[in-house]
């Protein structure tokens, strides 16, 4: 890991993003160079929503809710164009909050939308200008190269050099996996949604609680009953407050209730022509990066899944938005095979998932591919354990020796569990521990060998 931790990610923008005379110019950058593509240049229908959404993204990118805040700053949002929509994505500095602003064709009907993914520069003066955008002001937005922008802005190149965000990249990959099994649970009009948000985002909301549909509204409970949505450390949702008065409806998404004390939840604000999706992790201290939902699949490292992923990637380059049904239609795979290929692509930072449309979208993260594929620390440790010969199959499971301690990896339901302290703390809710992954690796190779 040390090699990747030292790696530096350099962003070069031809000029700083800015907003002058109703022209919002978002500068784009590819790794180590200026991105010369034009993603969009034209007017937007609801300037207040676009400005508010970008502000919320900037808030999320800069937010760090942990007690011990890190010194690294938030990352610039990633923007993806699929020929029809523009999607702006950001992950909070603490890694537990993910936001995405989707501008649909109805919002951008003015001009063509490019294809591809890039970083956009957000800076304090732009932030201030965005807070001044009113509902009645017309707004022309350009993402990427724009002749008008060159004429109005000074040409000072902006260069940002930051350590390569391994955690951030893993977090974005985990987000796609978290959203895959999510279903809509509760749809509420904006009026009552304000009350819901005020209730769950109060400063006292430093616990996991569950929101269940009741009558025409909802009720709060402490029990993970079926149909409930978990709101963990809900005070983080306060970043949505400025956006809520603009929304027409709010929909809450959640994965099937598993009985775990906290689960991820999705909040989708619908503005008619745009959508804002927010994903809330299971706790302030639980960033998406550490969730390790992908580890079991990664550990198995099946060659078939990799081949499937490559095939699917080729498909996605042609048609950037696909749902699972269309994957099946194009490839003839069953649902499980399609899901595992999608998961493999998500891990590599190649796809995102739009929960409101229940479809995946092609989003090759604008980072150097070799660095994106850097090992998950837990997976690296597991590979070390499995090669060191510390994993011994026994009658009760696998005895895994790590340092001076020996742990027992055993079956639990469909998966594995361990006797280590990390497992006792999280009980599988943040993915398998390194001992379990090591046992899976040994189990697979053992089976193949036999």
């Amino acid at each position: 890991m040390s090699a990747t931790a030292q790696a530096v990610d350099t962003r070069i923008y031809r000029h700083a993003s800015g907003l002058f005379d109703g022209n919002l110019t978002l500068a784009a950058s590819a790794p180590d160079q200026v991105d010369e593509r034009t993603f969009y240049a034209g007017f937007v229908r609801t300037p207040r929503v676009v400005a508010g959404g970008l502000l919320a993204l900037a808030d999320i990118a800069g937010a760090d809710f942990r007690q011990n805040r890190s010194t690294t700053r938030g990352r610039d949002p990633v923007v993806t164009g699929d020929g029809e929509r523009l999607r702006f994505e950001a992950l909070s500095t603490c890694g537990g909050l993910y936001g995405r602003l989707d501008l649909t064709a109805a919002e951008l009907s003015d001009a063509a939308v490019g294809r591809g993914t890039t970083n956009v520069d957000i800076n304090p003066p732009l932030y201030e200008s965005l807070t001044r955008v009113g509902g009645a002001d017309p707004l022309r937005m350009s993402v990427g190269e724009d002749e008008l922008a060159v004429s109005t802005l000074d040409g000072k190149v902006v260069e940002k050099r930051v350590p390569l965000p391994a955690r951030w990249l893993r977090g974005l990959a985990e987000v796609a996996v978290h959203t895959l099994p999510m279903d809509p649970r509760l749809e509420i009009p904006a009026g009552p949604a304000v009350a819901l948000l005020a209730e769950v985002s109060a400063r006292s909301g430093r616990q996991a609680r569950w929101v269940v549909p009741a009558g025409s509204g909802w009720r709060s409970t402490t029990r993970p009953v079926s149909g409930a949505v978990c709101v963990a450390d809900g005070f983080r949702l306060a970043v949505l407050r400025p956006l809520l008065p603009l929304a027409q409806a709010v929909t809450l998404y959640a994965p099937p209730v598993s009985g775990a004390p906290a689960q991820v939840s999705g909040w989708v604000l619908d503005f008619g022509t745009a959508r804002f999706t927010l994903l809330l992790s299971t706790a302030v201290t639980h960033g998406f990066a550490g969730d390790g939902q992908l580890l079991a699949d990664l550990g198995s490292g099946s060659a078939d899944a990799d081949a499937d992923a490559d095939a699917l990637n080729a498909l996605l380059t042609i048609d950037p938005v696909i749902d699972r049904a269309s994957v099946a239609a194009h490839t003839g795979w069953d649902a499980a095979r399609a899901a595992s290929a999608l998961a493999a692509l998500a891990t590599a930072g190649q796809v995102g998932y739009d929960v409101a449309e229940a479809s995946s979208f092609h989003r090759p993260l604008p980072y150097r591919a070799d660095l994106v594929a850097a090992l998950h620390p837990r997976l690296a440790a597991a590979r070390l354990l499995s090669t060191a010969g510390g994993v011994v199959p026994t009658a009760a499971g696998f005895a895994v020796t790590s340092g001076e301690s020996t742990y027992l990896v055993h079956r639990r339901g469909d998966g594995y569990a361990c006797t280590c302290a990390w497992w006792a703390e999280h009980q599988g809710r943040r993915g398998p521990c390194k001992h379990v992954v090591a046992a899976i690796i040994i189990g697979q190779t053992g089976q193949r060998g036999g």
Binding site: T131, G191, V194, T221, R223, A238, P245, H410
Partner: protein, 896 residues
């Protein structure tokens, strides 16, 4: 070399930077590098304070006393003086002693001061010597990177080098400005690191000396801001060329903002900024825009408060705020009510100066009516009363959804009053909003708008679900997993507790060597009951003694531990075939047929079940036992079998009651549930008196395990748990999972359960309150449950200010939404019967509102004394309005 080294050491000891630089500048790089190892290991001579020598106090001549006339003299008695003087000679001697003492005191005081000055001088000299040493090290280091590393080295790598601003000129003389500039860049880059305090003042002096620009990195700017600047920060900043560069960081960067409002900097920076603004050094517009930007970016309350304070002090006029209209509208959703209040007041002022455009007015209305602060919402509704509503309807609809009924009603009042002035399009907009509105508001507005009020959403009737079955027994691997969780995270899950006990017994009885291999590594080093029982399972005797120093062990804790200890004792040599008390359901009930079968087997095979295990099994029998089991039990002959049969035949109910415990030095007066186990096993009893039970304990035991001790006698367990809920109602954490267990348990309702739920509803921790609401929902689904007792306790406790009434409202409202309407009405009406006659009380209006929402069709206000009088009061107070709503829901006698 020796001469040079002695020379360098001498100049370090002289703390003469110029002279030291003079020596070093004459050396080439190689010579300097050769000095470095010696310098690294060198410690300057430690200067000791100069000894202070004062001449001893000289004796003074005796004072002349007047020999004629009268004189008065006051004695200051001292322990050394002996008896008071009786003649002139005695007085003279006494005065002499007093003067001597005074002189001695003065002498030692002077000496102390001189010593202190000497110590200070020595300390300063030592610091200067350290600085000189640091200067020599830095000057002799080969590269700037090496210097930066040395100046930031961890404690473990050696004592820190104390570079000061004074060494900068000498350093530049030795190594040149270019080298200094490179060092300044390197130092500035490390300035923000949090792991270690960096010598910022040196860095700053260096940067200024080499003419480097102001710091760029936020961490370095934060250090600049946090550095003390003598008496007048404002005059320093006014003259500082860096200040203009630093200014935007104060508003835009979290770290710099935090540095400028916390600690010493927090006391001087905001006033200095104001001073600079007043003097014209800083543009007012820059500070106003910056403060607004910081308020929008947000942060902790303590971080934002100074910025809001600055903004208020600057008191921007409407001309200055016109450009910030949209930012102010955005600030109306700020988490801090004071920020929203400032923004609102400013927007009102702007509107007075020149009318705001409709889009902004809509946004203001949306943002204001979605706030939770009643004061702000009322203020805006009052303002709307004077504005045309036509263009702000989109915002007004938000107010109709307000969760506080009073504010939703006030919005509806406004709509109703202005309905005739609205256009048809606006009416249509309102009509479209009706279906999603809350019941009362929809009922009120629907006829006015010619719409149909939505039928109340069907709420599923509450159904008591049968308790789930226990998970299957653990195999060896799963046992290790669960045991590891239990040992590491504590024993707070009754299901895991039972599964592990059962699993240990199974592991013992199947393959002990396999069990030993798996369980051995899990046995922790600490002494305790669990290590003992795990060791016993693998055949190792490991004695365990309960700790002596813990004075009070609760009977229930003793009971739980007793059963584990009994198993530990038997596992080594005489493991039983199975545990009788292993439950069949997650509630804790055993399967009577299984217990019977095991007892029959024990008689046949000649083994004895453990006494504690049998007691626990008996306590876990369901209330309904199959007749066949009862009959078969009568044929049992062993003592255990006869005990089981006897219990099935007789049965018993515990007796519970509530005692008042008056105020005591350690706690306020409170109500405590008491228990007489009557015919139940004596282990359930708590022989202590009510005041002893009421005394708060240092640590709350694992209450979650208790409901499964007697799942058929909920009252008995509630009586044990309730004293802990009293002592944690305003502090501490009782946990909440025991409430789930109590609600799932069986048995008649009684005073202990009512009191437990009442205190849990008012707990200071929201999760406990919500869990109490959930318990009430589960209990309401049971046919034999009656919540009236809970309501009476809530009313009584709130009336005497023992609980915060307001806290109980939210969990009750959640229960109401879940469909526990009857139970909530029982609680609310019983509480109101106590509270309404007593007059206004904090939170009462909310409870009355809740009761109005829960009132069943057949209720009559005659059941609620004081309601009619309250509803008839003039005025529009919150309580009166709520009382009127309740009176409408429950017809008054005169109206019926």
């Amino acid at each position: 070399m020796d001469d040079l080294w002695r020379d360098v050491c001498a100049r370090i000891d002289d703390a003469d930077f110029d002279a030291l630089a003079e020596v070093l500048v004459g050396l080439d790089a190689k010579e300097r590098a050769a000095l470095l190892p010696a310098l690294d290991g060198h410690t300057p001579t430690h200067a000791l304070p100069e000894p202070v020598v004062l001449p001893p106090p000289e004796p003074e001549p005796d004072p002349e006393l007047p020999t004629t006339g009268n004189f008065a003299y006051a004695f200051f008695a001292s322990a050394d003086d002996g008896p008071p003087p009786r003649d002139l000679e005695g007085i003279r001697a006494h005065l002499g002693r007093q003067r001597l003492r005074e002189r001695e005191r003065r002498w030692s005081r002077d000496k102390w001061h001189l010593e202190r000055e000497a110590a200070h001088a020595a300390r300063s000299l030592n610091e200067l010597r350290q600085a000189a040493l640091a200067m020599a090290v830095v000057a002799c280091s080969p590269t700037t990177a090496d210097v930066v590393k040395r100046l930031h080295r961890p404690w473990s790598a050696g004592p820190s080098l104390r570079v000061t601003p004074e060494v900068v000129p000498g350093l530049l003389r030795v190594r040149g400005v270019e080298w200094g500039a490179a060092l300044a860049r390197g130092m500035a880059r490390r300035a923000g690191s949090r792991s270690r305090t960096t010598p910022w003042q040196f860095t700053e002096a260096l940067m200024r000396a080499v003419g480097a620009g102001p710091p760029e990195a936020p961490g370095a700017v934060a250090r600049y801001v946090a550095t003390g600047r003598g008496h007048s920060l404002a005059s320093f900043l006014a003259a500082d060329p860096w200040f203009d560069h630093v200014l935007p960081y104060l508003f835009d960067d979290d770290r710099v903002a935090a540095a400028s409002v916390t600690g010493v900097a927090g006391r001087v920076w905001p006033p200095a900024l104001i001073e600079l603004t007043t003097s014209g050094r800083v543009d007012r517009e820059v500070v106003i825009a910056g403060c607004l930007r910081r308020l929008r970016i947000g942060g902790r309350k303590g971080l934002l408060q100074p910025y809001l304070g600055m903004l208020k002090q600057l008191a921007p006029g409407t001309d200055e705020l016109t450009g910030h209209r949209q930012e102010l509208a955005g600030l109306l959703t700020a988490p801090m009510s004071t920020v929203a209040d400032f923004a609102y007041t400013s927007l009102r002022a702007l509107h007075r100066a020149s009318a705001l455009d409709p889009a902004t007015l809509v946004e203001i209305t949306q943002n204001m009516l979605s706030r939770q602060e009643k004061k702000l919402v009322r203020a805006h509704l009052a303002w709307l009363g004077a504005l045309p509503l036509e263009h702000v309807l989109d915002g007004l609809v938000v107010g109709l959804h307000h969760p506080v009924p009073e504010l939703a009603e006030r919005t509806a009042d406004l709509v109703e009053a202005r309905l005739p002035t609205l256009s048809e399009a606006s009416r249509e907009r309102l009509r479209a909003a009706v279906p999603s509105l809350d019941g009362a508001i929809a009922q009120r507005l629907a006829p006015l708008l010619g719409a149909v009020a939505p039928a109340p959403a069907p709420i599923r009737p509450l159904v008591a679900e049968p308790p789930a079955e226990m998970p299957p027994p653990l195999d060896l691997g799963a046992l290790a997993g669960e045991l590891s969780i239990l040992l590491r995270k504590g024993n707070d899950d009754p299901i895991r507790h039972e599964l592990v006990l059962d699993g240990l017994l199974r592991a013992t009885r199947s393959d002990r060597s396999a069990a030993a291999q798996v369980l051995e590594p899990l046995i922790p080093q600490w002494p305790g009951l669990w290590p003992t029982v795990v060791a016993a399972a693998i055949g190792r005797h490991q004695p365990y003694q309960a700790p002596h120093r813990r004075p009070e062990r609760h009977p229930m804790t003793l009971f739980v531990e007793g059963r584990v200890a009994e198993l530990a004792a038997r596992l080594v040599s005489d493991p039983p075939v199975a545990l009788l008390a292993t439950p069949a359901t997650v509630t804790g009930h055993v399967d009577p047929a299984r217990v019977l079968g095991l007892l029959q087997e024990a008689e046949r095979d000649g083994w004895q079940p453990g006494r504690a295990d049998l007691t626990q099994a008996i306590l876990r029998l369901p209330r309904e036992v199959d007749a066949a089991v009862r009959t078969a039990a009568t044929h049992l002959a062993s003592p255990a079998g006869r005990r089981f049969a006897g219990w099935l035949a007789a049965g018993a109910e515990p007796r519970t009651w509530v005692e008042e415990v008056a105020y005591q030095p350690h706690f306020s007066s409170r109500r405590i549930a008491m228990l007489d186990p009557a015919g139940l096993p004596a282990e359930l009893a708590d022989p202590r008196s009510a005041p002893d039970r009421a005394r708060p304990t240092w640590q709350v035991p694992a209450l979650a395990l208790w409901p499964t001790i007697a799942p058929s006698h909920r009252e008995a367990i509630a009586a044990h748990i309730q004293p802990f809920l009293v002592s944690t109602v305003d502090r501490g954490n009782p946990g909440s999972s025991f409430l789930t267990g109590l609600a799932a348990a069986d048995g008649p309702t009684g005073p202990a359960m009512s009191l437990t739920i009442a205190y849990a509803l008012a707990n200071h921790r929201q999760p406990v309150r919500l869990a109490a609401g959930d318990a009430l929902i589960a209990l309401a689904a049971r046919p034999d449950w009656d919540s009236t007792g809970v309501g009476a306790e809530v009313g009584g406790l709130a009336a005497r200010d023992r609980i915060v009434l307001q806290r109980t409202v939210q969990p009750l409202a959640e229960a109401l939404k879940a469909g526990a309407r009857h139970a909530v009405w029982q609680v609310a009406s019983a509480a109101l019967r106590v509270l309404l006659p007593a007059g206004p009380h904090p939170g009462l209006a909310d409870l009355v509102d809740l009761a109005a929402g829960a009132a069943p069709g057949g209720a009559r206000s005659a059941d609620l004394p004081g309601l009619a009088a309250l509803a008839a009061k003039p005025g529009r107070g919150r309580l009166t309005e709520a009382a009127r709503r309740l009176a409408r829901a429950v017809p008054l006698p005169s109206m019926s």
